[in-house]
Symmetry: C2
Subunit: 373 residues, 2 copies
């Protein structure tokens, strides 16, 4: 029975464990918090720091394979484990490249993957020297996650908001649509794509409002995305599941914003909407099984359940019963012991082939559900 380790014990780990229950595998999780979402559902839980070299090597040395649910892990340890014969999904070198926003941008350039213009910065003076990139988005090279380590610089007067140390300054894109494309690559380099996902933002709150799959895209945009996705799959040259996040700008040009080297929030609907979910797919890849079908069984939308503002503490999920009264609504609670404003506490998937009705249900459910304390 293969022994697979996951670095990180959040909701992605939890849902990966859920899928792993189908297979002849032994699952291990490394995470500092013994009350994390994944802790109760693996055969072996190890308390430890995924950013600490010794903890990661100690955790992984007797495993057959390791995967990640967050890219902020100790990649030196992953390199060491690869030398020791542990297979890392995706390759340690790819995680190293992607977790550093400077290296990730350079990877795009190297492989002629279209992305917004950028420079690397060390000090605010570097920003000041490139007014042509303003308004721009300043991103710390390392450690950013879920909006942290990212700062909009509107003009030269904003320069004081810039991060000191290694960072990227990107020219801001006039975003018409944000699209996610999940790809899966097996150990032989064979790859497959899930249908594209439209990430619909609430511009007033500056956060994701909902996701819908498939995305409604003009043919020429869809073609650009498909071409780039193939290029990305070939450039990555590593087995794994990846999410490519695209910007479609006001000229209908497609640019790659970021790649996540792992299962991703934009793929959670695949649990119900696909024959093989992103989690099932990653396990198939790790176990050397054939890739699953990425075909949509049905159209789907997804809403993140975010901790409501003003509430901190033991979560109370309001409205679940009401939401489940609507046909083919699926609830996924992540089992976090505390809610706080903006924290991802769960998600809701809705399946319905009628896009109009899907969007109406999204609206309805957003009014019903809240996470309080």
């Amino acid at each position: 029975m293969k022994k697979i380790g996951i670095l990180g014990g959040g909701q992605l780990g939890r849902m990966l464990l859920q899928a792993a229950i189908n297979y002849p595998v032994e699952m291990h999780v490394l995470e500092n918090d013994p009350n994390c979402p994944a802790a109760g559902f693996c055969q072996y839980f190890s308390k430890g720091d995924i950013t600490n070299y010794d903890d990661v090597v100690e955790f992984g040395k007797n495993l057959d394979a390791i995967t990640i649910e967050i890219e902020q892990v100790n990649t030196d340890a992953l390199n060491k484990l690869e030398e020791m014969g542990v297979v890392v999904f995706p390759k340690a070198s790819i995680i190293t490249t992607i977790k550093n926003k400077i290296q990730q941008k350079q990877f795009f350039v190297q492989h002629q993957i279209p992305t917004s213009p950028f420079i690397t910065t060390q000090t605010n003076a570097d920003i000041a020297a490139h007014p042509n990139l303003l308004p721009g988005v300043h991103k710390l090279a390392m450690g950013g996650y879920d909006g942290r380590g990212v700062q909009v610089i509107q003009s030269l007067t904003d320069i004081g908001k810039g991060f000191p140390g290694p960072a990227v300054l990107e020219k801001m894109v006039t975003i018409k649509q944000e699209i996610s494309q999940l790809i899966a690559i097996d150990q032989n380099g064979k790859y497959t794509y899930y249908p594209t996902v439209d990430m619909v933002f609430d511009t007033s709150l500056n956060m994701l409002s909902y996701q819908i799959c498939p995305a409604n895209l003009p043919k020429h945009v869809q073609e650009q995305i498909s071409t780039i996705a193939v290029k990305v799959a070939k450039s990555l040259n590593s087995p794994g599941v990846f999410a490519i996040e695209f910007f479609v700008n006001d000229q209908d040009e497609v640019l790659v914003n970021e790649i996540a080297p792992r299962v991703h929030n934009s793929g959670h609907h695949t649990i119900e909407a696909s024959y093989s979910s992103q989690f099932d797919m990653l396990l198939r890849i790790i176990l050397g099984y054939p890739l699953g079908s990425t075909e949509n069984r049905t159209n789907a939308a997804l809403i993140n359940l975010i901790g409501a503002s003003g509430y901190n503490g033991t979560p109370i999920y309001r409205g679940i019963e009401k939401a489940l009264n609507i046909e083919n609504v699926f609830v996924h609670i992540y089992g976090k012991s505390n809610t706080k404003p903006g924290r991802k506490m769960g998600h809701i998937t809705i399946t319905d082939n009628d896009i109009k009705s899907l969007k109406e249900k999204v609206k309805e459910i957003k009014n019903i559900i809240s996470v309080e304390a």
Copy 2:
């Protein structure tokens, strides 16, 4: 967060835990074997005997709800727990009735649920006194499971094979078809049905060959089944998921063979084939959520993975990769540490709306897969 306990840690418990990962619940398992299929996937595992009064009361006394994955549990303890305010799914009284084959038969008679003619027996003399029931099937009142405690008595010369002690002698039915009907009843008595399942037997091996859903039934047979299923749902008068196993005889008459007061092998395809699987449904019932949709998303077949004869020990699952190469084939391995001939080690679900192609895939997969050691 509701605390739910499962008595028994086999594959049914394992798949229930898999479904529970979606919900805000804390799952507990009671089972003697710490290496059982469910042990690694619950937040709390208790080692103990599900047939022992003290063990069951101790396990359940601080829980909100208890359910079972096998009916051979200590029902006196469940009665006690109900008195203490723990909600048992299904009711302790129903488990008591069903786990005793004499009481189960009497329940059918009491509620005018058609079943094969029978007598209760204590000694072989009781069999001898009823030659009109031969050929018959002799079943121990208590403790029978998966074929154990069941004996065919062809004629008076076979009487020596009969069981001493409380048992049932049923007249053997000329079986044309064996059909299973899953029903789900919520805490308010509202019920819903899954599509019927045809349990196709291999008469040469006298074991289940495969299951297919929906069953292909003439209208007048389907109508009898539906009528009986409604009657059963009302007679049970308890929340829970139940499997009603029917015989269709050579006269197209429908008789109830047995009721299982729990999730059941004949419902495993619902994980992929239904919007709400039997496991998801049981959790919805326990949590007081609305019943899920029982509609088939697709037709489906199911093959049990049975330990091959001649092999005992650590299981080796042969042919999984090959099977997964066939479109929309899903593997469920139960994680048992040892295989032995005839032991249920896992199952395979195939989804395909074309019944002919479904049956061809069943045949193909049965040739590919085996569980050895």
